[in-house]
Each structure stands twice: as C-alpha cells, then as structure tokens.
Symmetry: C2
Amino acid sequence: MAAAAPPPPPTPAPVEALPKSTPAGHTLFSRIRLATPSDVPHIHKLVHQMAVFEHLTHQFAATESALSSTLFNSQAFHSFTIFILEVSPNPFPESTVNPLYKPKVQVLNLELPIEDPERERFKAEGDDVVVAGFVLFFPNYSTFLAKPGFYVEDLFVRECYRRKGFGKMLLSAVAKQAVEMGYGRVEWSVLDWNVNAIKFYEEMGAKILQEWRICRLTGEALEAYGPC
Amino acid sequence: MAAAAPPPPPTPAPVEALPKSTPAGHTLFSRIRLATPSDVPHIHKLVHQMAVFEHLTHQFAATESALSSTLFNSQAFHSFTIFILEVSPNPFPESTVNPLYKPKVQVLNLELPIEDPERERFKAEGDDVVVAGFVLFFPNYSTFLAKPGFYVEDLFVRECYRRKGFGKMLLSAVAKQAVEMGYGRVEWSVLDWNVNAIKFYEEMGAKILQEWRICRLTGEALEAYGPC
C-alpha cells in the first residue's frame, strides 16, 4: 500500500459499499480491526478526546501504562475488547489472518475530502492510515436468557470523521460479533438529553429502557468496603 | 456440623456480627461462598423466582443446561461470577480452603425463627444448610479510570429471608472483592420507581446516575446484524 499507488475504483467488488455519492467524489477506505497493545497510545488519546467531548475531563485518570496493564490480558471477546477504526485514501492490504477476527472493510465516496487537522497525531501503520475511532466492549450476562451478551462501554469517532456512518459501522460490528457468538443482547448507555443519539440508536433497533437507573459505588464510598 | 451440636454463643469472636437482637433470640448462621457447577439447579430456581418477583416471567428462558454451559467457564472474578448465600441454624464447618475466595460468615440473632416453606427445595450440602439467595456479577471496565470494576447483574434473596440484611451482605461482599482487586467501581441497575431499593443503595454509598439510560439491542433486532 504505497502512498503513490493509483487511486482505486470507487467500489471494488469484494468489499461492502456504503451508499454512493457522486461518481467523481473522494474515496475513503475504512477498516475495523481488533486492537493490539501497540494501539494503546492512540486509545489513550481517543479516550481523552471523549472525556473532553463529554465535559468529563475531571473524571479522566487514565494513563497509557494503566491501559496497557488492564487491557489485552484475555482472549478477544472473552473480556475487555477494542475495535479500532482506521481510514485511508488507499485500499488496505489483505490483512494478515487474525484467527479471532477478520477485519471489516468499507469504502466511502465523499463529495469533499476530509480535512484531518490531527492526522499526524493519529497516524497508524502505513503512511496513509489514520486512526479515526474505537469501540470498547466486554461480555455481560443475562440470567433470564442464560446467555452472555456484550456491553459497549465506549463508542467514539473523532470529530472530523463524524456524520459519515462510522459510529453505525462500529456498533454494527459489535452486534454482528454478538450474533456470530450466539449471544443474546448488546447493551450500552446514553444520556437522556442526547436526543440525536437516542434517535440514532432506535433506528439501529435498540430499545431505550426508560425505567432503569444505573447505580455506581466508587471512590471513597467503595474503598470503605475494603480491608481496614 | 452435626444437627445436634450445642447452640453456639450469640457472637463468636472470629466472625463479624450483625446488630444483635435479644440475647435469647434465635441464632442463624449465614455464609457467602463462590458458586460451583453443582449449584446450578438452585441458581435456576432462584432466577425463576426473581423473574416472578419482577413480573418478567415472559422474558425467562433459562434452562439448567443453558446456565451450566455458559457459566463457570472462566476463573472466578475474571468473568461471570456467582456468590451463593446459605443459612443454617448451626455453625458452618471450616471451609475447605478455596484459594480464590474465603467464604464470609456472619451470625444473626433473630427475635423469631424464620419459617422457610421451601427449605426442602433449597437444601444445600449438609442437612441444615439452605440456599437463601445469590448475586451474579462480572467485570466491567472504565476507560476514564483505566481500571476494571464489577457490574452486578442480579441480586436476589428469597422472600422469607428478606429484611434481615442479607442483600447488604451480598452487595458488600462484591464491593469488598472489588476493593481487594484494586477495581475502581461497582455498578448495577435499579427500577426508578423502586424507592425503597434506591434509598437502600444510597445508604450503601451508591450514586444513582439520573441522566443515563440503558439501550438494549436484542431478539430479532439483534439477529438482523448477523450473517444472512
């Protein structure tokens, strides 16, 4: 995948295509793949941008080393799992076969190219590949179904890549994985005033559980339960 | 632990005691321990009682074999984990050492003995030991903290054992385990109209996240994401 490679046809046969824009538009290749420990610096920056977006930087205490020591300790899908979204103006090479997950590739045809002011900070493997977002999820369990499911803790797409369908691609990839594993549910949380997000999730088939509230025990209130 | 053993002193030194009732009250020993695959028949009955209690039997699809095949596949605390609450009129024997979890024993002094109409259905190991409840939890993850936590999916105490502090014991056992493992949070959900439960959880130090709503993708809406 050299930077000088000729531009590919707008919608190569073997990949699924999002709705086309103009035939003369700008082609952007996207790929969802399993994260590896070498992605931690990018994951750390993405989580920080998410904290800024949510006005929750006062809760942000993650470091790269804390992420490294708590993630990637179990086989993918059996514990905390991260999909990385990458984009490139050029086709992705045939991925080295990962027995756990075959990357999902999609091609977008955009009317205008995306200007990424942070492309240097988020450069991934290969000159033209940039990390654009991620989703972190892990198994949960329903005793009523006697089946595991997935809980999506974080779903984030960097600002300049929003409103292009990438959020749906990431969430769909988790849902697809759940179906393939025979799991019963995919769940996540949304702020009740975020009507655009709620509309988007409902269009994806989700139900909003209006009566349930999340309870959280943390900080000193949690520490009080520990050994004296 | 013979049934004819002399009654123990009301609050033996090595165990934590709940608030005492009358010195001449009825002593009940309780124990929280890790569940094993042999507990599945009791777990199945408890989950069904929980579905009845929540008026959600139409969602109840669990079978013993489905529970057996989806639980106990990973080391305790690293995936779906169940604590079983047992009670007995007699002291529990020194437990065989489980390197993963030392059972928590407490002694209650009750004004009146508890009449358990289902003691035969819930008999556990030993003639006098009865299963009274359970809690199912599993790891979750906070990227802001870069730390795992626990999510409590189910907390259930059989009707005749309620209002004795057992729910608090079970939830406290999960919180204590979280602290011992260096985890950052314990979370669970509550119905917004269940004011008694909310009061109880707040008294335990939990905050209710009023703005967040749970989204759920399940059934046909989820299956739609799978392979055609």
